[in-house]
C-alpha cells in the first residue's frame, strides 16, 4: 500500500475499560493505517466490541486515548464522532425498520443545514433543494450498485438478514466516512454475498474510506485485510499481515488453535 503512513486513520493508546471487577479492555493499543483495511480478530470476550464502543463514543473509557486523524476522540458523544467522519456498524444490522430502503440510505447522510426544525416548516432555499435532489440521485445510484433498486420502496424491516447487511453497506457508501468500523459484517451472510461485501470493502478504500473490520470469518479476513490486529483478554497480543500471524504461537494459543496449523 502506498498510502502515507505519516498520520494513521486511527491510533489507540492504552485504552482501558472495566465493568465491575472485569477488565473488558485493558491497555489496548494499536494503529490502523490510512487507506487500508485493518482486521481486528480475537476469541469471544477478547474485548473487540467494547473497544469499538469506546472508540465510537458509545461507551466512555476509564483511561487511554483514541486519535482519529490526529484528533482526540475520547469523551466525545457518538454523533460528534460520526460527524467527524468515523462511522461504525453493529453486530446485528441496525436498519431503521419502518423506513424504506431508500429512506434508510438517504438518512445515512447527516445534513445539519437541512435537518433543523425551522427548515422543516419554512421550506428550503433553491441551493438546498438541489442538494436534496442530488442526494436522492446519489442514493439511487448506490442502491443500483448494491443491487437493491428493486427493493428501494420496501420497508427495511421486511428484508432478509443478508439484504439488511447490504443496506448497511449502502448507508456507509452514502455517509462517505473517512473511517468505517465494521462489526462482524459477515454474520449470517452466505459466501456469494460475502464476495460482494469484499468487493464493497475494496470500493470503500477506493473512495477514500479506511476500514477496520472485526470478524471471525478468517478466510474473509485473509481476503480483504492488509493488516491484522489480534486481541485477547482485552489487549493486543499480536499484529501484522494475516500470513505472518498464522505461525505466531501466541495467536495460535489464544485464538487460531489447531484449525489453521494443520
Amino acid at each position: 500500500m502506498s498510502a502515507s503512513s505519516s498520520t494513521p486513520a486511527l491510533e489507540v493508546r492504552g485504552l482501558t475499560k472495566h465493568f465491575g471487577g472485569v477488565y473488558a479492555v485493558e491497555g489496548c493499543s494499536f494503529v490502523a493505517p490510512m487507506g487500508q483495511v485493518t482486521g481486528l480478530i480475537g476469541p469471544n470476550g477478547a474485548g473487540k466490541s467494547t473497544a469499538i464502543d469506546l472508540i465510537s463514543g458509545f461507551k466512555l473509557p476509564d483511561s487511554g486515548t483514541v486519535l482519529f486523524k490526529g484528533r482526540a476522540l475520547e469523551g466525545l458523544p457518538p454523533h460528534v464522532i460520526a460527524r467527524l467522519g468515523l462511522i461504525r456498524t453493529f453486530q446485528a444490522p441496525r436498519e431503521w425498520p419502518g423506513l424504506t430502503v431508500l429512506e434508510n440510505v438517504v438518512m445515512a447522510n447527516w445534513d445539519g443545514g437541512r435537518e433543523g426544525f425551522l427548515r422543516g416548516i419554512v421550506g428550503l432555499g433553491t441551493s438546498q433543494r438541489s442538494r436534496a435532489f442530488d442526494e436522492l440521485a446519489w442514493a439511487r445510484e448506490i442502491l443500483e450498485e448494491f443491487g437493491l433498486t428493486q427493493l428501494r420502496n420496501e420497508r427495511a424491516g421486511n428484508l432478509s438478514g443478508g439484504q439488511k447487511r447490504l443496506v448497511e453497506f449502502a448507508r456507509i457508501r452514502m455517509a462517505q466516512p473517512e473511517l468505517v468500523i465494521l462489526d462482524e459484517p459477515m454474520g449470517g451472510v452466505n459466501p456469494v454475498l460475502g464476495e460482494r461485501m469484499a468487493v464493497a470493502i475494496e470500493a470503500f478504500i477506493a473512495s477514500g474510506t479506511s476500514v477496520i473490520v472485526v470478524e471471525h470469518n478468517l478466510p474473509f479476513i485473509q481476503r480483504v485485510t492488509q493488516h491484522v490486529i489480534v486481541m485477547a483478554q482485552g489487549t493486543v497480543i499480536a499484529e501484522g499481515p494475516f500470513e505472518s500471524l498464522r505461525s505466531n504461537q501466541d495467536v495460535i494459543d489464544a485464538y487460531l488453535g489447531e484449525l489453521v496449523t494443520q
Binding site: F58, R94, E95, L99, L102, W110, G120, I121, G123
Partner: protein, 322 residues
Amino acid sequence: MSAYIVSILTEGAIFGIMALGLNVIWGWSGDFDLAYYGYIAVGAYMTLVLTIGPPTAPAHYILGLQLPYPAAVVLAVISSMAVGLVVGLIALRHLRGIYFSIVTLGAVYVMYVFAGQYVPLFDGYNGLSGLFDPMGDWFGLDYLSYQWFLMGLCLVMFGLVLLFMWRLSGSRFGMALRTLREDERAAAAFGRDIYRLKLKGYVLGAGVGGFAGALFAAYLSAFNPSAWSPIEIIVLYAAVLVGGRGNIWGVVLGVFIMGIVVQESTRFLPEVPGHPQIVLALRGVIIGLVLVLFLRFRPQGLLPERRFVDPAPKLEPATRTA
C-alpha cells in the same frame, strides 16, 4: 341541533390539535409520554390567568392581567413549552420506553397535585373561570354567533396546525425524528444528536398541546383539576393509534372516530333507570375495547405511516433519428 353540531366541531378541532401534538412525541419521536395532558392544562390555566381580572377574595391565583386573548395564547404556549422543556430535560436524558413513561406519569401527577393543592397558583380545586367569549366584543358578537365564531376559529387553527404538521412530516426534521423512533443507536452512529433532537420534538409537542389548551380555555371559559381526568390522555392515544401513528391524516381520522363517533355515540344510548352513571361508564368500556382490538388486529392503525415511494426510473426517451 345546530348548537350541538357547532359544539362537536369546536371540540373536535381542539381535540385534533391535541392529537397532532401528541403525534409528534409518540408518532414520530416514539416516546410514550404520559405528561402530555399536563401541557394542555398549563396552556389552559395560563390563558385564563392572563386574560381574566385580578382575583377577588376568596379566590386566589397569580397574574390576572386582562391581556388580550391572542397575547395570552402566545404566552400560554411559551409556558407549556417551558414546562415541557424542564420535563424533557430530565426524562429524555437517559430514559426510554416504560421508564420514560413512568417518569412522565410522575411529572404530570406532580403538576396535577400542585395545581390542585397550591391554592395561590390557580385557586386549587376551585379552578379558574371568567373567560367569556374572548375576542367576541371586538366583532360585536352575541352569544349564539360567538359559538359559530369560536367554531370557525378552532377549525381554522386546526387547519393551520395540520398544514404545519404536513410540512414537518415530509421534512428532514420529521425524518430525523423517525430515525430516533426506529433505532436511535443507529441514528447516533450516523450523526444525529439524539437528546437534542428528541428534546426539540418534545418541546414542539408540548407547545402544540398548550395551544390546544388555550383554545380549550376559550371554549370552556373555565378550567379546574376535574377538567383534567386521566381518561383524556387515553382517548388521545386511542385516536392516534386507531387512525395511524405517525400519519397526520390518520390522526385526523382517528380524532374523528374516537373523538366524535365513540365519545358522542354513547349519548344516544338509552338511559337505564336508576343507573345514571352507566352510559358514561360504557364510554370508557368502548374506548378500552377499541384500543385492545386495534392493538391486537391492526397496530399500525387505519392509515399506516406513509413512506416516500420512489417512482419507477423513467426510461430514457428514444433519441429521434429524423
